[in-house]
Structure formats: structure tokens, C-alpha cells
């Protein structure tokens, strides 16, 4: 009898260590963001900081928040791709908000891709992973034709966007 009690006690204890699975854990890999690194056009292996870059999605008024601010001066950004549809267009504005309007330069990049939906868990539901179009992964245009594009070259490093541990796109300027 004592042995049975011990056995049930051990079982009851093993249940108390169960993990909570009602809330999607922030560390669970879900829909990945597109990771873009900025590099020096003249020295392609060196990361280069952008100055007050504002990234706005098509049809949106506010820019993507980077650490709570709509502009960034870092050398790497992570931006979401739309999970509905197969393309996302962003405007990349350099020197955003600069009083000297000559310095402000806006370029558009449209990313084309296919999506695949994968089951994650009860709490997280599904996630999307993206595969950039093999023939035409992006379309680079300028806001005003007369203005020269500030982005000199775009290179696709990883066309399969499955996690956020690697740089998918390199932008040289």
C-alpha cells in the first residue's frame, strides 16, 4: 500500500512540472521577419550605417518601429512581409525628416515571394515561411525619376526566409 502511495505521489509531482502552453512563447520561432543588412558599395564586405532611414509599407502611414522610433541609423533592419498575398512593397527613405530636402531620398522595393504555412503549436497556430521568387525576387524603383536611386545594388543572400538568424538581403549604398 505504501508503495502505491509513493508511486501516485511521484506521478502527481511529475504533473506539476508541466509547461504552460496556452500562450505563444516569444522564443518560439514563428513567422520570420525579412532581415536586411546595409553595406558600403565601395567596400562591399563592410557594414555601413544608414542615416535616419524610415521604412514605410505600401498603404501605411506610419513607419516600422525600430526600438520604438520610426527611423533607424543602424546597419541591420528586420521588416515583416505580408502573409496575405505574395508581394510586399516598402519605401526606404534616407535622411527622413532632414530639414535639407535635397538630402531626403526615397526608393521603393517590391518583394515577390511564395508563402508556405506550417503548423507551430496550439498556442501559436500556424506560421508562414517565404521563398523569394527565383527569377524576380525584387523590383527596385525610385520615387521621382529625376532623382538618382540611393540604393546602388541589392543582393539576395538567402531566398528561403525561414528564420531570423541570417541576413536574407544585402543592400549596398
Amino acid at each position: 500500500m505504501k508503495k502505491i502511495i509513493l508511486l501516485v505521489f511521484a506521478l502527481a509531482l511529475s504533473f506539476s512540472s508541466c509547461e504552460k502552453d496556452d500562450i505563444c512563447d516569444a522564443n518560439t520561432p514563428t513567422t520570420p521577419l525579412l532581415v536586411i543588412g546595409f553595406y558600403d558599395f565601395l567596400n562591399p564586405s563592410v557594414l555601413k550605417n544608414v542615416s535616419n532611414l524610415k521604412v514605410v509599407g505600401e498603404g501605411m502611414t506610419d513607419g516600422i518601429l525600430f526600438n520604438g522610433s520610426q527611423t533607424t541609423s543602424g546597419n541591420t533592419i528586420s521588416i515583416p512581409l505580408k502573409t496575405v498575398g505574395t508581394s510586399t512593397t516598402y519605401s526606404f527613405t534616407l535622411n527622413s525628416g532632414n530639414p535639407n530636402s535635397v538630402l531626403i531620398d526615397e526608393d521603393f522595393i517590391k518583394f515577390d515571394y511564395t508563402t508556405q504555412e506550417l503548423f507551430v503549436s496550439r498556442a501559436c497556430g500556424y506560421k508562414s515561411i517565404f521563398t523569394l521568387d527565383p527569377t524576380n525576387p525584387y523590383t527596385h524603383t525610385d520615387a521621382t525619376a529625376a532623382n538618382q536611386k540611393w540604393i546602388k545594388f541589392i543582393s539576395v543572400e538567402k531566398s528561403n526566409i525561414e528564420n531570423e538568424n541570417e541576413t536574407h538581403i544585402k543592400i549596398f549604398f
Binding site: F9, T30, S78, P80, L118, F119, R122, Y126
Partner: protein
């Protein structure tokens, strides 16, 4: 809430066992000195009877018989749940057969149709299951009582299908707004799972041959054939699955006992001590 419930079940399980322990009575050994051995010499006109030394006991325990048979019934919880939960239909038939004084062969047979509506997925599970195993009655009944406080084990097997009704895509960065619910309707057939259950149960005779009882179950998955790009979040008989392999269940049964034969309870034999000089 579910976690509170889970720990509550665990505590109940432990408590129900202490109850069993408290009710256990160790048989009082009769003092060998008081058991007399007498030889009775019959008087001449009376017919001859067997002359043999007989142990006459001073205590007067009435002859006790145990009834053996099958008990069949139904899980009331599953049956009544369909009345107030439109997303659930289910039935479970329960039965046991008394093998020995303490051991019962036990089985449950059931069918469930449940639609689970979670935050991010909505799916319907349909399927049947069977559980078979044994119960050990740890309760020492007084007189002719037939109550049961048992611990047992089951092996469960279920075949079922899942239909994903709708789902949502999780996006940690909701810049473009929350993704709408996507209808699916995709069906996953030919799924199966098997598991082991530890059962703690109580059955009480309410009148004649009718028993009511409930049982708590801790389940652990052994095999689980998962659908492609989805998961068995609910398994008929096993219930909701968690991140690990464990699950919980319970039932509330009403059963009818069909007696088949009776067996006399053997008095506890006291080994006669031979005094050595």
C-alpha cells in the same frame, strides 16, 4: 484555470488514497489459546457423527459471501455534456468483471465528436476508442458492503480523424495588422494513438445492484500518429494533449451489477503454533 484543475486532480488522487489507507483494517489474529479443541462423544441412541477434532471459534463472524459478476454502465458526464455543449457529442460504455476478491478486469468503449475552438485553431475531432486493463480494490468492505476504492491501469487505443476548420497565422510583428482567420476545412484521416492510464476510482452501491462512481485518470501517450502539418491536439479517450506526453481524464459513471456466482469468503486461517519445550 486548467492548471489549477490539474493540480486539484492530483491532490484529489493523493487524498483518495489516504482515505483508502485509513479504511484499511488489519485482521485481528485470534488468540490461539482461546481456541479450544474438544472431543465430543455422542450418546448411544443418537446417530453416529464424525468424530474429529474441530476448532470452535469463540468469535461469531457470520458466513460472508462475495458476489462475482459483470458490471456494465455508462459515463454520465459524456452523455450529459451534449445537452449543454453544442460542440460535443460523446458516449462511453464502461464495464468490469470481478476476477478475484480484489482484482477486476475493466474496460471502456467510447466514441467522441468534439469541436475545439482555440485562439488560433478551430478543429473537429471524430473517433472511437477502447481502453482495457484492471482495477485493484483497495477497500476492505464491512459485512456485505460492496464498495470499491480502486487503483488500476488501462491500455487505451483510439482511431480518429481531425478536420481543421480554421486557423490563424502567428506574426510577432503585427505591422500590417492582425492576420484574419483563414478558413481551411482540411481533413486528416487514418490517425491513431495509444496510451497508458493510471486510474484512481470510487464506486458506491446506491441500491440493489446499482453503483455510481467516478474515476480520475492520468494518461501518458505511447504512440501518436500525427497528421502532416497539424497536430493531434485532442484525441478521443485521451482528451486534450499538452506539450509533453501527459494528459488527464475523468468519468462519472452509473453501472448495473449482474451477479453470476457467489463465493464464500474463507475465514482467515490462523496457523497453529506448536509449542516447543
Amino acid at each position: 484555470m486548467k492548471h489549477t484543475l490539474r493540480s486539484f486532480f492530483s491532490i484529489c488522487l493523493v487524498l483518495s488514497l489516504t482515505l483508502v489507507q485509513a479504511q484499511e483494517t488489519t485482521p485481528v489474529k485470534s488468540d490461539p489459546k482461546t481456541a479450544k479443541t474438544e472431543q465430543i462423544i455422542p450418546e448411544a441412541p443418537l446417530p453416529l457423527v464424525k468424530i474429529s477434532p474441530e476448532i470452535i471459534k469463540n468469535d461469531s463472524i457470520p458466513v460472508k459471501t462475495d458476489r462475482y459478476g459483470v458490471r456494465v454502465g455508462v459515463d454520465l458526464y459524456k452523455l450529459t455534456r451534449a445537452l449543454y455543449d453544442k460542440d460535443y457529442k460523446g458516449i462511453e460504455l464502461v464495464g468490469d468483471y470481478r476476477l478475484t476478491k480484489k482484482y477486476f478486469l475493466a474496460a471502456e468503449l467510447g466514441n467522441e465528436n468534439k469541436t475545439t475552438d482555440d485562439d488560433r485553431v478551430n478543429f473537429t475531432t471524430k473517433g472511437s476508442y477502447i481502453k482495457a486493463g484492471f482495477d485493484y480494490n483497495a477497500y476492505e468492505n464491512w459485512l456485505d458492503m460492496e464498495n470499491i476504492i480502486s487503483i488500476g491501469m488501462r491500455y487505451g487505443f483510439s482511431t480518429f480523424n481531425q478536420q481543421l476548420n480554421s486557423y490563424r497565422i502567428y506574426n510577432a510583428n503585427p505591422y500590417f495588422g492582425e492576420v484574419p482567420v483563414i478558413p481551411s476545412g482540411k481533413k486528416f484521416d487514418g490517425l491513431s494513438a495509444s496510451w497508458i492510464e493510471v486510474v484512481a476510482g470510487v464506486k458506491a452501491k446506491v441500491f440493489d445492484n446499482v453503483f455510481v462512481g467516478f474515476s480520475l485518470r492520468l494518461n501518458r501517450l505511447i504512440t501518436n500518429k500525427e497528421p502532416e502539418n497539424f497536430s493531434n491536439l485532442y484525441i478521443p479517450g485521451f482528451n486534450r494533449t499538452y506539450d509533453g506526453d501527459f494528459g488527464v481524464g475523468f468519468n462519472y459513471t452509473i453501472t448495473y451489477f449482474v451477479p453470476i456466482y457467489k463465493k464464500k469468503v474463507k475465514p482467515i486461517a490462523v496457523p497453529k503454533k506448536v509449542e516447543k519445550k
